[in-house]
Symmetry: C2
Subunit: 145 residues, 2 copies
Amino acid sequence: MTATDHRREAERIYVFVQHLGRRLRDIDQAFGISPRRFSALAGLAFDGPTSVGELAAFERVKRPSMTRLVQDMERDGLIQRRPDPTDGRGVRIRITPRGRALVEQVRQRKIALVADFLAQLNPETLSAVKVSFDALRPLGRVPPE
Amino acid sequence: MTATDHRREAERIYVFVQHLGRRLRDIDQAFGISPRRFSALAGLAFDGPTSVGELAAFERVKRPSMTRLVQDMERDGLIQRRPDPTDGRGVRIRITPRGRALVEQVRQRKIALVADFLAQLNPETLSAVKVSFDALRPLGRVPPE
DNA sequence: TATTGTTATACTCTATAACTATA
DNA sequence: TATAGTTATAGAGTATAACAATA
């Protein structure tokens, strides 16, 4: 395998990601949630309570923008804000049952989009898919800032 | 392979896409181009001239929004607009050399992000990756509206 | 002094509605 | 009448700068 082969394959991967990403955003829209909101809410659903600053960093957004996003989501009953018991300046943000239900709905729809496609692949291809995404997972991880 | 297996694998795929998508958008930002602009410009670079309406549909944006985007990109010298010779109402949009150069720069950086990762995988895993993305490509295609 | 979160304000992006020109 | 594109206008979303409270 040459570097040129890697680049050719790399291009197919990134183009796939951009295209499937668009279809996933269509699903967000169908549920009336912005991609950013879904992303932040999903983070809260799976990683538990966090702060405005942490959420902002993870979402690549400035803190005032996250303050606003969090205010809107609290108004809509998707999250709750509470003072941080260990730091008087801080705020702990947690997802509400309603927020969790919304994340779950959207998530299931996204999973279904992909799973329905996988269902028509043969077993050998499916094994390759499993091996691939096991190996590729770290590529999605965020760099250390 | 059961439906449950498919769903588990599907989730990993969609999460990977959302995460790598975020890193790819970081690259757009590093080049001072919005993800939407890069996407539209890349479409023009690879599919040739098109119209405002087609671009809008592909980008999932309303026509007035695309008119604006196209105006801004023309002002910045990334594209050119010409009247459609076969339809007096229409406009043909083509990318300029400068626009193409920008797309190419961003594209190479994105490819490098992925290719550098691929370079550390073993040959068997790389074969699996190739098989997988061959098979998955149609999943990125847009549905017929 | 530095940090967390917020408010005030401006800018970008997108949408809806209304308009022009052509089919 | 319908369609392609535009203009006018309003509504999200995000950023920078300045501020309050706490560390």
